[in-house]
Subunit: 245 residues, 2 copies
């Protein structure tokens, strides 16, 4: 797995609103990123508007580092991504957040330190900012409405990085204790069939086999656990009983 | 590819703030989702607070459908996901947003209509709401700080769905027109070596070969396009010239 000590640096270039810095901090911290760097924040630093919108991610705000220039902010990093929405026509590779996440985990496991630049809210980064990056990072969006705000861009990049290092299985079964075994399933089938027989459900001898198969497939597909087979047998028993009153 | 007509329904269950409904609409629309459904929104509907925070996604707000109950909201859907953060101890499969996206594309290509339930801002869904779902959808987050808000949860699910249907290559090369061919690269190497020779750079005959290899590897690794080889040759030529003034 990745070198635990290094995490990608999230660098906000000339961010405008303190509130957006707070939201970006919260987005990062949701996915375990803590290295927040600010380049020339418009309203100075610290900014009292950042704390409240960071919610419980105040630690990220408290430890944010401030730099005058992008060059200084990336000085200790080995690979820099620039997030952009529009085509810059620069001779740089363009990657998705998923591909960047994969690359960054590879870099970190080799002891390298990646950083991701995010531009100011309205204007985005200048071409001079982007020229300092190795790679352009762009999330594909609805071509009719590409309007990711700063915190949204930060969350997508952070999320992809976290997912790729996370061991949660993509799919966890509905019954961690396992499904019923086939003896239990067949027991339930036979129980139902027996009761239905008593009730005269199988009226036409010619259709009996096809009716039985329909019921057996339905039970088979239900994916019952042992417990659920017991519940079903209780239901069948209760239904089969004569009227109580 | 997917059936173009069907997109997953995003169902907000008893949402509280109009502003959050607007943000969720914006998050959906960024990734091409438009089927927004509201179950018993606390402050009624329409809500004047929703429009401004939806930014350009007003069309999603305008076409949102309102229902009294979750049962009614999912009536025309074939598979329902419930997004939860905490463990519910219910016998349901639990999937990541990426796995849900994969499943939903499969369902849609078979003409099925999936839906995703998102609970109220503070409390999340009740267990009765969750029991109506087929599958639980949970995004793995920082175990020390899992604090996804409503719009953030909507954006992650919408993003994953969009990515999986999107044809953007994960990695686009820096030089779409292709790299320089080896004749151009070797031409540059020889040009530099020739000029360095003139300037007496290779002082020690014993180290000449190793110095040459260092330079050749460096040029090889740079990944120049034809245009960049020309630029480099211009630089070398300019540097090699005697003082101009």
């Amino acid at each position: 797995m990745s070198n635990k000590a290094i995490k990608p640096a999230i660098i906000l270039v000339r961010p405008q609103l303190g509130e957006n810095i707070g939201k970006a901090a919260r987005a990062m911290y949701n996915f375990g990123l803590t290295d927040l760097r600010l380049v020339a924040p418009r309203d100075g630093w610290p900014n009292p508007d950042a704390g409240p919108s960071a919610a419980g991610a105040g630690v990220v705000i408290d430890e944010a580092k401030v730099f005058e220039t992008v060059e200084e902010a990336v000085a200790d990093c080995t690979h820099v991504y620039a997030t952009t929405v529009r085509e810059r026509g620069m001779p740089k590779a363009v990657v998705t957040p998923a591909e960047a996440a994969k690359q960054m985990h590879g870099m970190i496991s080799s002891g390298e330190r990646p950083a991701i630049l995010f531009g100011p809210e309205r204007s985005g980064m200048t071409n001079d900012d982007v020229a300092l990056a190795d790679t352009i990072l762009t999330a594909p969006v609805n071509p009719d409405y590409g309007s990711l705000n700063l915190a949204q861009a930060v969350i997508l990049v952070s999320y992809e990085f976290f997912q790729r290092g996370d061991a949660t299985p993509e799919h966890q079964p509905s019954h961690p204790e396992g499904l019923a075994d086939k003896a239990e399933i067949v027991g339930l089938m036979e129980h139902i069939e027996g009761e239905l027989e008593q009730k005269g459900y199988f009226r036409s001898e010619g259709r009996r086999d096809s009716q039985r198969r329909t019921i057996r497939n339905l039970i088979q597909n239900a994916g019952f656990s042992s417990q659920e087979v017991q519940t079903m047998r209780g239901i069948v028993k209760a239904l089969a009983k004569g009227q109580k009153r």
